[in-house]
């Protein structure tokens, strides 16, 4: 049974556009992470020291930890599975931020200026948070 919610056509279109963005982003990032993880699994058995390291909380082999953009792009070129996983995760993490930007645009199309202002504010706060986090 299909229930129709009492939403305006614009609101319905807004819901659809946003869900496409999220769905596409989720599928893309899941595919990249899955690819990287499969390769990682094949190679894992050759690293018996990994399990105790994870548990003791030491950083695994500092040089292979993909935690900066330069590090990741260099790893991608080498075909490092961990770098591919990191790229997939970065895409996943960026989805909520992209989504906030997308809602601003959609509220703008709806000429709902109050909500354009609110979503732009949230977007600005998120960016400043990311920059502050980098500085800390």
């Amino acid at each position: 049974m299909e229930l129709q919610s009492e939403r305006t056509p614009i609101e319905r279109r807004m819901d659809l556009v946003l869900s496409w963005l999220l769905r596409g982003g989720v599928i893309a990032s899941a595919a990249i992470v899955l690819g990287g993880w499969s390769v990682l699994l094949v190679r894992l058995e050759s690293r018996p020291a990994l399990l105790p390291t994870l548990q003791e909380g030491r950083l695994i082999d500092e040089h292979t930890v993909a935690h900066s953009v330069a590090n990741v792009t260099e790893g991608l070129a080498r075909g490092s599975a961990r770098a591919w996983i990191a790229i997939g995760l970065m895409l996943l993490i960026s989805l909520p931020v992209l989504r906030v930007a997308m809602t601003s645009v959609l509220f703008g199309l709806e000429r709902d200026w109050l909500y354009v202002a609110l979503t732009v504010l949230v977007f600005g706060l998120l960016l400043s948070g990311l920059l502050l986090g980098r500085a800390l």
Partner: protein, 284 residues
Amino acid sequence: MFTSILWFEVALLGTSFIVGIFGAVLGIGGGVMLVPALTLLFGVNLRYAVGASIVSVIATSSGAAARYVHDHLTNLRLASFLEVATVTGALTGAFLSAVLDARWLFLLFALMLLQSSVLMMRLKDASLQAPSGTDKWADRLRLASTYPDRVLGRVIVYRPVRVWLGFALMWIAGVLSALLGIGSGPLKVLAMDSAMRLPIRVSSASSNYMIGVTAAASAGTYFVKGDILPELAAPVALGVLGGALVGTHLMVRLPSQRIRQVFIVVLLILAVQMGLRAFGIQVR
């Protein structure tokens, strides 16, 4: 417990799948379950467990929101408005964490959760009652909306009350999540359910939508510090996404009172965890 890393990875995928189901149904990121599971069952160091749980929050949020937005369960205006509170709260919390001893906060938080779960047990789900709201801010901000309820078989009209109380609680949820590193999802659902009197399905869907934004604000920092390990984050992300897919199907079919009952159990588990941490016992 694990002798082979391959088993470790597969078991982590399965555990994350279950976390994803609960997360999508309840509108929470699943840190409340994933962090103890990772530290107690998998023996993972707390630092990496928290990094993995941030990934879990974002995976649940985007995975579940894709469907809830499509099904018109998410209130985009409400979520956009409340996001202002959670994000400013999270940034405030990040600043406070440098100067504040969070110890007594854990106890306060635990007591607050206990009290909230009692309150929630007494209340009926808002979808089962006619909207009684007379909050002029709900009108000014155009927060009233509708959603199709499959279980009741009709469109539910709802109107939030005590909008500014909800906003304040969302701010506190943001502060606490940054300060204590856990519990932003449950607090968001609680604020929407008990303070703003929204139907649980709307609260869960809108919370799911928001938790990703709060977590994304801090995820960058975790990434740079190297706390997000691909070996842990990959199976967690994939498992949670799969679980969220199943969870969203379940959520639209479960009776609203049942969703709330499960949620109350999760609140109590969180209260116990926070209570233990007040006395210096970290679950790990």
